[in-house]
């Protein structure tokens, strides 16, 4: 009987001012945390295979670049207009650097970049180009597709929303 009362009280608590304030604070915290700080997202597409799989789930941690800039080899979430659709890509070159693909090998400033995360064969060719100021060059890990079908290139640092939590 006492147990029933406890269960009922848990699911249907009396609307005291304290309860309402607590509920309001929890709602506010949840909205701010999961809406602006640690944004949940669902991975669609295979451009980051095998590091991130199609259908996977993750969180975008936005505080990562609060006091620092993106570094090479970091996986970042890039926004379009807002935060509902983002791109997940890996930073391969920083501002001022020259990027080139030669027979599938990624060259930064003319030197081959060691990329242990690449598992599939690649035969891309792309003439050298320089990364503009306040931009980074991003590419997906899955390069086992024609270069025309892979969405990559340089983007403004302002578009980087954060990093995946894992």
């Amino acid at each position: 009987m006492n147990g029933n009362k406890k269960i009922r009280k848990f699911f249907f608590p009396s609307l005291t001012p304290n309860f309402l304030i607590r509920a309001l604070l929890v709602t506010l915290f949840t909205y701010l945390f999961f809406g602006h700080v640690c944004i949940p997202f669902h991975i669609q597409g295979s451009s980051m295979e095998p590091t991130y799989h199609n259908g996977g789930f993750n969180f975008c941690w936005r505080l990562h670049y609060l006091f620092s800039k993106p570094k090479r080899n970091e996986v970042v979430a890039i926004r379009f207009t807002g935060r509902h659709v983002m791109l997940l890509k890996r930073v391969v070159a920083l501002e001022g650097e020259w990027v080139e693909f030669r027979d599938g090998k990624l060259l930064i400033n003319g030197k081959e970049l060691d990329e242990p995360y690449i598992r599939y064969p690649c035969n891309w060719n792309l003439s050298p180009r320089q990364v503009e100021v306040n931009c980074v060059y991003v590419v997906g890990d899955n390069r086992n597709m024609p270069v025309e079908n892979h969405y990559f290139g340089q983007t403004s640092i302002r578009r980087i929303m954060g990093v995946p939590l894992w």
Binding site: G45, I78, F80, T81, R83, R129, G153, Q154
Partner: protein, 166 residues
Amino acid sequence: MVKVRSFIIALILVGIGIWAFIHFSPSEERKVRKQFGLLSGWASKAQGETPLIMAQKTRKIGTLFAENCGLEVPLYSISGNLTRDEIIGYAARGRLLFSELSLRFYDLTVSFPEEGIAKVSSTARLTGKLNVGENVDETHELQCVLKKIGKRWFFSHMEVVEVLKR
């Protein structure tokens, strides 16, 4: 205690009232957003769509555009000013390539730089299946300008923004 409870209830009621006013009042912003909803609905295509529905939807797409509309879609080599009929032609030919098509807009940001002009930034996601069986999944940032003619808003300029520049 009773006073506090009444105050909280009054606060909630006022909140609901404000929300209802904003939600149900036909503001200009809502009218602009509605045009995107209509475009999304009429551009999308379900499997097995009959030629009659297709013709109807394509004609309706035309009603959303101004007599002359600037289009900048570098990806598909579309650039310049197009008449309403030309846009209908593009829409019809584009839809014919797909057996299934879905166009959705996310993160719409609407601003009114001057009377009768609305600038909208949005993320457009196009998913579908081509007649040849290939799946399509493309996301682009879109900058649109809508003009108010009479009581209605018409698309007068559309531009695809390059988020990743090769």
